[in-house]
Symmetry: C2
Subunit: 211 residues, 2 copies
Amino acid sequence: MKKLSARQERILQFITDFIEEQGYPPTVRDIQHGCDISSTSVVDYNLNILQREEFIRRSPEISRGLEILKGHRPGARTTYVPVLAYIAAGQPLPDLSAEHRDAPLEILEVATNRLNGESDVYALRVRGTSMIDALIADGDIVIVKPADTVKDGDTVVAWLKRENEATLKRFYHEGDRIRLQPANTRMEPIYVSPDNLDIQGKVITVLRDLA
Amino acid sequence: MKKLSARQERILQFITDFIEEQGYPPTVRDIQHGCDISSTSVVDYNLNILQREEFIRRSPEISRGLEILKGHRPGARTTYVPVLAYIAAGQPLPDLSAEHRDAPLEILEVATNRLNGESDVYALRVRGTSMIDALIADGDIVIVKPADTVKDGDTVVAWLKRENEATLKRFYHEGDRIRLQPANTRMEPIYVSPDNLDIQGKVITVLRDLA
DNA sequence: CAGCAGGCAGAACATCCGTACTGAACCCTG
DNA sequence: CAGGGTTCAGTACGGATGTTCTGCCTGCTG
């Protein structure tokens, strides 16, 4: 997929916002004025490129015949979240920080407002019962925002280097060590030193489908 | 709110379907042909009524300047699910079977395809840590389809009459008694007799927001 | 029955709006 | 520097589209 020019990005954003606000797509001339373009032909030209690159669909000869095709754009009621990997104790997590999002295991459709405004989130599917301490069952889905720094109280996806273990726990600084608190209040917290800890991201939502 | 005529209902349905399929609203003439109407003026006439009754919003002088205003219409990507009650051990569940849906505690927006095609679902918010055996934490949301009969293996919302306790467990017939299996495989199942059990519904999804 | 309002048909009008055409500015590449 | 591709500005054409006007039919009401 070709990268878009600044003008094309702006047009795409304008169309998205316009639909969100008005309930119907803009005309060529709406886009022209909204993006400070001096001619309708320029809009037409760039819309054709956006169509060729499959960001939008155009219906010829039809006024406002525009449709946004791409998955996540703000304003959409649902967002497509890629399930990038399985997570299980004793299995290293693959490299999620980079842009390794081309081959998701599956695609989740999630109500956008569940994501708390976050945009570049991904999901992990839990394998096995090793996370039961964190109230996470086999097959559960964890939606994660990538982050290497987190705030006290956040639930984090952590990799314990020495123990060779992935885990989901609440994160608290405590002097020069870190307390990881299980979601299950009956379980005792564990304490680790910062250099034994690799923070992958912050958990936003846990989903469990039982039907 | 005035009741709509058959023609107005049909127009409203056509607009909804058209937007769903095309990604943009229909023109007056699209509606004319789609609803077998002989004149554009009739469409205009009825659209004005639909606007007066606040089913749609029209933008004057603007082609396809239509927007559907009503909340849930089929085909929507998200569905609004009412959170009807809190669920906690030792507290009786209110009457959920009847149409006591006028005063939900809150409204959830859920991706429609998460509901597995079910329509008359509701949600419960879990209070306290008494469901931790079922891998359910304080604050979790449980989406439930009302049902008094369930299949083996379903996760059910059950009321234990003698124990005066609400619980979420997997359901299995076992001779003349019923086995309720916790989601946490480390926990032992409990056995109850059918007359001590009140099935409220079947759990479809568990949601946990951590952000 | 006269009067009136709701619902409709047909046609005409003015504008909206997608598209095509021409030419210019700019940036590569050989 | 020549040549070609990309991007853009300005203009014009013609079909698409919202709106208006006139008139007809039906059912209701006093």
